[in-house]
């Protein structure tokens, strides 16, 4: 990939995206642009529509309109199972570990979508716990281990656009620390990351940019440099 280090390469662009679950209209015209290697967060209160933005990108909502481009390709008309092949890897809020598969089967489940993913040895080096428990049933793992597994699963596939939904939710501080280290390593690999987070202290030092979401709309875009000046707004919106 010759364009790998082009800093301004557009990895993801949403234009006027509306999303619906049945009759409920959840997203109201989302516009956002994420460059290769950037880490952006989606901040907002519970129910503001952050998970729905990630699901819209993955084609997992009932209906969506507008345009979603991944790596320069329009996904609006693609069936959901084609979207990961453009390089998107999704880590759902509920983690989605399969109970009928053991840890290693869970790890090996998602097919490779492009070259350059981590191999099993590298994954086990990054997450030694998973190696020790590779024969355990997936859902027998602790919450932290399940989260590691859900992350590791998409690192193997070579996805270069990672959509991570509330990965620190309910985890002990040591594990949150471990996840922060992992994200730093992934940034060094120039992966693009969209992070939905409640834990602002976790997200703030890692992020290049923040989108503030309310009622299915983006109400503010804040770069890392602007963050100190916007703490007042964030405090009001999120209580941080």
């Amino acid at each position: 990939m010759s364009d790998l280090h082009t800093p301004e390469l557009e990895q993801l662009r949403l234009s006027n995206v509306h999303a619906f679950y049945g009759e409920s209209h959840i997203l109201h015209g989302i516009d956002m642009k994420v460059h290769r290697g950037e880490l952006v967060t989606l901040l907002g209160r519970n129910g503001s529509g952050r998970s729905t933005i990630l699901k819209s990108i993955m084609g997992m909502v009932g209906r969506r309109t507008g345009s979603i481009m991944i790596n320069g390709k329009e996904t609006a008309t693609l069936p959901a199972f084609r979207i990961p092949r453009l390089g998107a890897g999704y880590c759902p809020e509920e983690r989605g570990i399969f109970a009928s598969l053991d840890v290693e089967e869970n790890l090996l489940l998602p097919p490779t979508v492009r070259s350059g993913g981590m191999n099993l040895d590298e994954i086990y080096e990054m997450f030694p716990n998973l190696y020790e428990r590779r024969r355990s049933q997936g859902t027998r793992l602790s919450g932290g281990e399940q989260q590691m597994l859900a992350m590791a699963r998409i690192l193997r596939t070579g996805a270069n656009l990672l959509l991570l939904d509330e990965i620190t939710e309910g985890l002990a501080p040591v594990i949150v620390q471990k996840l922060a280290e992992v994200l730093v390593k992934l940034k060094e690999k120039n992966l693009t990351i969209i992070l939905v987070e409640q834990n602002f202290c976790f997200a703030a030092p890692l992020a290049d940019r923040h989108y503030l979401i309310e009622h299915g709309r983006i109400i503010e875009e804040i770069s890392a440099a602007e963050l100190p000046g916007q703490m007042e707004l964030l405090h009001r919106q999120l209580g941080v």
Binding site: P79, F81, G96
Partner: protein, 296 residues
């Protein structure tokens, strides 16, 4: 050897157990297909009995009109009927996939009636004999009984296919897709798995298993349009006892229910046709999700 148990000669007992095992082999094959289909599609396939009959009839017709022998039919018929199943899924079941389960249930029930009715119209409702292949004529002496070679073959073939299906599901990549797709198809799509295609293939595979059972049954029972309908009622009871969607449960329960039926024939023949339903009621009272079903 005449070890009397309740004054029943051991030979009679073992003979009935053997017959029970043969019935059980059919229950296992059919409930396995139903369980695989239910697991991924959440469809109760009421056409399963008709698809079994279709297997037997197709073998008969291929033999009559084209001289295609048993062994070829054993391979060819499941493929043809399986492809027919794929088409049924793609063009009839898929359009109602988002609707209430009642739609697919009534759809497959209607299909069963149409298929069975068509064959009754064309060939009448009486039975047709299918010759036992030359290599499997005669009987094996087991000491306590003479077991017709064909029946021994049925047990071996059915168990082999069940074992192979289990290995595919538990040990292969495709099987992992099937298991994971059964749990969370939407997430599987988010990983890039073509779930609509997997659903079509899985339905076709379940139907092919039914057709395979049909070909196996052709030389044993007379081939008639109603042969599947009668069997399916019992097989549904087996699936309920084993637990909807449990692969291993379907096979073990199928064999066990065949054996229980055989035993009942020895000790209390009047109850032989109802004993499985009795077991079903008991199991539903004690474990509503079935012996091998997951707790809800």
């Amino acid at each position: 050897m005449n070890l009397a148990l309740f004054d029943i000669p051991a030979a009679v007992l073992l003979g009935q157990l053997m017959l029970g095992l043969i019935n059980g082999a059919f229950y296992a094959l059919l409930s396995l297909g139903l369980a695989i289909i239910f697991g991924l599609l959440k469809v109760i396939n009421f056409a399963h009995g008709a698809q079994y009959m279709l297997g037997a009839f197709l073998a008969l017709l291929l033999f009559r009109h084209f001289g295609i022998d048993y062994w070829t039919a054993l391979l060819l018929v499941p493929i043809l009927v399986g492809l027919f199943g794929c088409a049924l899924e793609r063009f009839l079941l898929r359009p109602v996939a988002g609707e209430s389960h009642l739609y697919s249930l009534l759809l497959t029930f209607g299909l069963a009636l149409i298929i069975q009715g068509t064959f009754t119209n064309l060939y009448g409702s009486s039975g047709n004999a299918y010759p036992i292949p030359a290599a499997l004529r005669g009987a094996l002496s087991l000491g306590f009984m003479h077991l017709p070679t064909y029946r021994a073959w049925v047990i071996v073939a059915a168990l082999t296919v069940c074992l192979a299906a289990w290995l595919i599901i538990e040990k292969t990549r495709l099987g992992a897709y099937l298991r994971a797709g059964t749990e969370n198809p939407q997430l599987m799509q988010a990983f890039g798995i073509n779930i609509p295609f997997l659903v079509t293939v899985t339905y076709g595979f379940g139907v092919a298993l039914a057709a395979f059972a049909g070909v196996l049954a052709a030389p044993l029972y007379s081939v008639s349009p109603g042969m599947g309908a009668n069997l399916l009622i019992v097989v549904f009871a087996v699936v309920v006892i084993g637990g909807m969607g449990s692969i291993v449960g379907a096979v073990i329960t199928g064999l066990a229910m065949g054996l229980i039926e055989g035993l009942t024939k020895v000790f209390y023949p009047q109850a032989a046709t109802t004993v499985i339903f009795l077991v079903m009621v008991l199991v539903l009272l004690v474990k509503p999700n079935g012996l091998f079903g997951k707790e809800a």
